[in-house]
Amino acid sequence: MSKKKFNFDKQLLIPIAALVALVLFNLIVDPSFFKVTLGTNSSGNPVLNGYLITILDYGSELAILAIGMTLVTAASGGQDISVGAAIAISGSVILKVLCGSNTRPETLQAPIIVAFLVACVVSMLFGAFNGVLVAYFKIQPMVATLILFTAGRSIGAWINNNELPVISDESFTYFGGYIPGIPIPTPFLIAAVCVIVIMLVLKFTTLGLYTQSVGINGSSSRLNGINPEFVKFLTFVILGLCVAVTGLIKVSRLSTINYSVIAKDIEMDAILAVALGGNSLGGGKFNMMASVLGAYVIQFLTTTLYKMEVSASALPAYKAIVVILLVVLSTPVVRKKLDKLKRKLFAKKEVA
């Protein structure tokens, strides 16, 4: 039996290949894409500027969501399409706790950490709601989460009586911006912490084995003592936690909220990140790092398109084309064909 010490997962090749393609494209079109400069922002703190930094900044929101989405996909074989709406709820909760009854308070009515923890609890409850529908009522994940997808933004608006609270406290902007003295965007730091946490969880618990086993064969998992319903439920709760973190970043960026626009369509990007990571959207085996990398690749693509001055309204169409290309290339059908082609080419070389 061969025992490989270094186990490089071939799955990582897919997002890496996509990343390399994007990098090459930008190198050819305009190498200044990769320029990173140190400047100062409006409050006089040193910050890094450049397209790459933008990618790290905004890709981090996606990466955090991709963590939860990967687990949900693996265990339930479906996706949660309500994360954008759920972010509206968690963001609204954070603002409500910070502002209290006044929509434009001079000072914060509660510590930020308290607001964040409340948002965590609320988001996990909504995650649990989705989880119960999927795991115990056996509703297809996309259909089950359609409920919250439809209602979420209204619930968010209702929490603040449809008003738009604005926070003037500067420390609240740190989470979606920069902490004074650190030129790296905070969302990237938060994402790094999230990735480290989930890697530790996967290493020190059997979460990975359970979710994959349940996703592949629920009946067999049950006979091995696993509770498939609870595992599915748990993944939705974990995604709820990811939503709360993303919600904090989102409202911190603006210091306010726009219920109908905040994190719009982000669920699709999060799902695409999972797919781009080479994970089957039908559940089962997954590679967490590939998903996270996939998230940054999606953002890389978005930023590239922005830089090409594609108008915001046309952006999704361009993105769709590229995504179709990437996803189709990574399907087993095409990969098999490519493998065959590769073998043929090599065979010819040998003959020659």
Binding site: K3, T206, I216, N217, R222, N224
Partner: protein, 512 residues
Amino acid sequence: MKEKAVLELHGIVKSFPGVRALQSVDFTLREGEIHALMGENGAGKSTLIKVITGVYEKDGGEILLKGIDGPASIHSPQDAQNSGISTVYQEITLCPNLSVAENMFIGRTKGLATNWRKMNQDADKILKSLDIPAKATQQLGTCSLAVQQMVAIARAVDMECKVLILDEPTSSLDDSEVKKLFGLMRDLKAKGVGIIFVTHFLDQVYEVCDRITVLRDGKLVGEYEIKDLPRVQLVSKMLGKELDDLSDIKGEPKEEEENANEVPVLEAHQLQSNAGIKPFDFYIKKGEVNGFTGLLGSGRSECVRAIFGADHVIGGSVKKNGKDVKIRKPLDAMKNGIAYLPEDRKIDGIVGDLSVRENIILAAQVLRGFFRPFSKAKTYEIADEYIKLLNIKTASADTPIKSLSGGNQQKVILARWLLMHPEYLILDEPTRGIDVGTKVEIQKLVLKLAGEGMSVTFISSETDEMLRTCSRLVVMRDRKVVGELKGDELSQSNIMKTIAGHEEEKGGESVE
């Protein structure tokens, strides 16, 4: 092509990563013959079938078909079907939520419009002519497994095939159904259809087949006329060794000393589950091997599933080593040292995409708990140990279990439960669809484990296998325990009598 041949294979080669599944195999099927394809697990039977039916592309060699000049090109199951090759697989591959008629004609209607009435009438005609107890409009899922199998054959037969491949069609049928199937096969034979019959049941081979081709380790051993090859020789050809191993087990004495005061390892009283079995009593002692026997659907599996908590228990009590225990779900049973190898390996056993290694550690890992995962190195250590111990044929510990052959998958599941070091091991059809060699290995293992003090319940459709391994048999009929046989009472005829229930039931008297 040879005279009267309908299908000829020359030098077929097929490799998978790490395995050379077929190494230059020849095979000839003649008109109007039933030809058995025999071999151990991993001998290459399934691969050969899949090459013929276009599921796999062959790496080399050629396929000749009657009526076609030159090598036939079969690249997909559709190609095979159009060339007159039909297949019925071991696992039923129909759609249970469609009607019987729809299943028979699916993918074969021309154009978009369907004449439903005509389709149903045609289906009914075929069903009637083949004596299959199903209605055309009935939903397939409501038929018994055996009837579903026969519908699959009816579908294949109706497609005007020249070559019919039956891949283990009888493994889920009972005797009378097998008889019916054989009648059907003989009819088709008379019509000139060439039938390839893959099975593990030697009796059936000698009952219907004309010729046997034996494969071993991906190579052709030979083609024989049935009358030239006695059973013993067939088995030794398949195994590639003499039959000492088999006789070894048969000679095993069954030491069964009655120890009236001994507390049973497990004792169930009036246990009942929602799977439709009548309440039953059951016990097993330390180091004992016993079994449930009965016809297909008599409730054998449901009994052990109730003990393991796999079905919802609705009544009765269970004592473990004399102490009351509550077993509501599989995890409860596992915590009480009970392991259960389920009947349906594919649905309840393997976790297909996971590696052999992860499949082996799964149950033990669950028992250890969520926050105490085995280290990766440890899992490799365990996997390598059990791969060696049970002689599992796999490219590596990281190979997905679904790419292993059936027998080796079963060994992996067995390894999973042995790793748990259970006090009481339930094996439900552990040898189903498995070659003779692995069967013997498993039987031997059971006896060895019992010798070491493990209690084992062994369920098998083959009674001689049960007689060889069990010292006590619980006999079931119509989801009810109808008798118990032990010691000298254990014989084929006694089992049959008890199952058939010739005499009126008067308590345990019917056993005589």
